[in-house]
Symmetry: C2
Subunit: 190 residues, 2 copies
């Protein structure tokens, strides 16, 4: 279970509340993991019960109190143990690809808009990643070890989004070609 460990890493990088963690999952952690706040609070509760993390109530003014968590020794040990055991690459799951294969039994042209939507979403993600890279890893900086590791993970996200954009262009070209071919054969028949 990697969510626990992603949270441990994030709390090691900087202690924080469930709410703050949820926002990190929209930024730097989002480069490699996603989770809703509900999931985060549930896991935090379990980790606190297991003694992996500590909790400290922090009153705030102008906003509700928060519970700031930090990693305890057993949590560090659990992370180290998990780091040592091998993990398998994620299994492939690509919903849009299911639709593309299914388009043969529907209308390829109907998938174009959907594919363009995905293209926009990935272009946005790439733009956010690149902005994050410029902000957090400027040229000529002297990165710490942790920052070097964060950067190489981000480079992975950037490479993924670039690759995906190129592929989606390939998909769009293919769908448009097939749509033209269908229109042509329609005209032939009528």
């Amino acid at each position: 279970m990697a969510l626990e460990h992603a949270i441990l890493v994030s709390l090691l990088e900087r202690p924080g509340s469930g709410y703050e963690l949820a926002r990190r999952f929209d930024r730097s952690i989002g480069y490699f993991w996603t989770a809703t706040h509900q999931q985060i609070y549930r896991v935090l509760k379990r980790m606190e019960a297991d003694g992996w993390i500590d909790a400290q109530d922090v009153p705030q003014d102008g906003r509700p109190d928060k519970k700031v968590h930090s990693v305890a020794a057993p949590g560090r040990a659990a992370l180290a143990a998990w780091m040592a055991e091998p993990v398998e690459p994620e299994s492939v799951r690509h919903t849009l690809a299911v639709k593309i294969r299914g388009a043969a039994y529907g209308d390829p042209a109907a998938l174009i808009a959907e594919t363009e939507r995905h293209r926009t979403a990935h272009a946005d993600r790439l733009a956010r990643y690149l902005a994050g890279e410029r902000r957090d890893f400027p040229e000529g900086g002297e990165p710490t070890e942790s920052e070097e590791l964060q950067h190489v993970v981000l480079r992975g996200g950037i490479a993924y989004e670039r690759m995906t954009l190129e592929w989606l262009d390939d998909v769009l070209a293919t769908l448009r070609r097939l749509a033209r071919a269908r229109t042509a054969s329609d005209r032939t028949q009528s």
Copy 2:
């Protein structure tokens, strides 16, 4: 839920038993979805109960009987309905990246072997994909519409594996650099 629809697409491409579907998930369907045989049988049962697919007992000699499924009209309709509604891109989940970020709080050198394992696994997958491409989509062939769509999905898998291999090389270079830096500062301290 895309597993049902992936199975519908596969059964449209060619009717088959649960066992045969499971093997397809190791080949062409594996380019975009994974599932165990347990999952497949469970979903087939539900789809049969819902009238999405038909089942026919086929006796075989030299091996156990099998239940061959094919898509019924309601199944085709369900697939068409699902194709028409938008889906979101998958959420990011990358276990190895969690470990990379965690390496700052452990030993970066200890991750090298694991990363190399992943590199080998992805290189193997790429080789299988390329072999599948040569076999199923030879140069100069005249692909049908369905084959064109299958091919563009496979090209996505190939692009993903190539990108991943390049990134893993980047990761390995980074880990080795950090490992050397740690060794050097160890020598300085001692």
